[in-house]
Symmetry: C2
Subunit: 110 residues, 2 copies
DNA sequence: TTTTAATATTGCAATATTACGATAAATGAT
DNA sequence: ATCATTTATCGTAATATTGCAATATTAAAA
């Protein structure tokens, strides 16, 4: 016991949870924001921006990539990471839908 | 070692991470979606909807409330939970900004 | 007041995450 | 080939999360 019961939820719910969980760490929020603000996006730069050791940053990048939030391509000696727009679009439309639905019904029960 | 280094990140980044982390679990995604779809929102209903025991659901509700994603009010013998629109608005505008910024620059480096 | 129903808390075992030092792998330069 | 640089992986300790049975709390109902 202690393992998340993913099998009981829909694929969409699990997919959304995976992305949000990956995004739900301050270091990874910072990485995503950094990737949004720069054009060049090499791991070394990110390590210098963050108060974390290189292996830790590498691991965070791995998780972001695994969740589909970023993509990377080999750029000679370095690796170029950048945000995967498709994931951001998914998140944006998810929360836009949520917000719109909440506006339509005035749930004043609380 | 092992504890998240929140002190090295901005308050905004930590706040965003807290909300996203709370949202980043399939059971809690399911709870949020359920709360969006119904008008009445009593804890007992949620327990019946989910494949989890009552204490587990209660704990998830507690986390969602702690992160500011839902709010609850005492309704006699039961407790009425519903989504806190302010949190959804924050999330929506965060990802809308992200998406818009990505569209403006065509980051074709990956 | 006792009973009933609903939600919360406690305690604990299983699992997952976080962080980093040490080390490996890969590429470019000499 | 050797070296320097950059990123990834391994191993491990500390911490956090997950889930549930058992129990406590709370408030309406009888």
């Amino acid at each position: 016991m202690g393992a998340t019961k993913t099998e009981h939820f829909t694929d969409k719910q699990n997919a959304m949870a995976t992305m949000l969980k990956a995004f739900g760490h301050p270091a990874r929020v910072a990485i995503m924001e950094y990737l949004m603000n720069v054009d060049a996006c090499i791991c070394g730069d990110i390590v210098n921006e963050l108060p974390l050791a290189q292996p830790t940053v590498s691991q965070h990048l791995k998780e972001l990539k695994h969740a589909g939030l970023i993509k990377g391509s080999i750029e000679g000696n370095a690796i170029c990471y950048c945000i995967d727009e498709r994931a951001i679009d998914l998140l944006q439309s998810y929360f836009t839908n949520l917000a719109n639905n909440l506006n339509h019904k005035n749930n004043s029960c609380c």
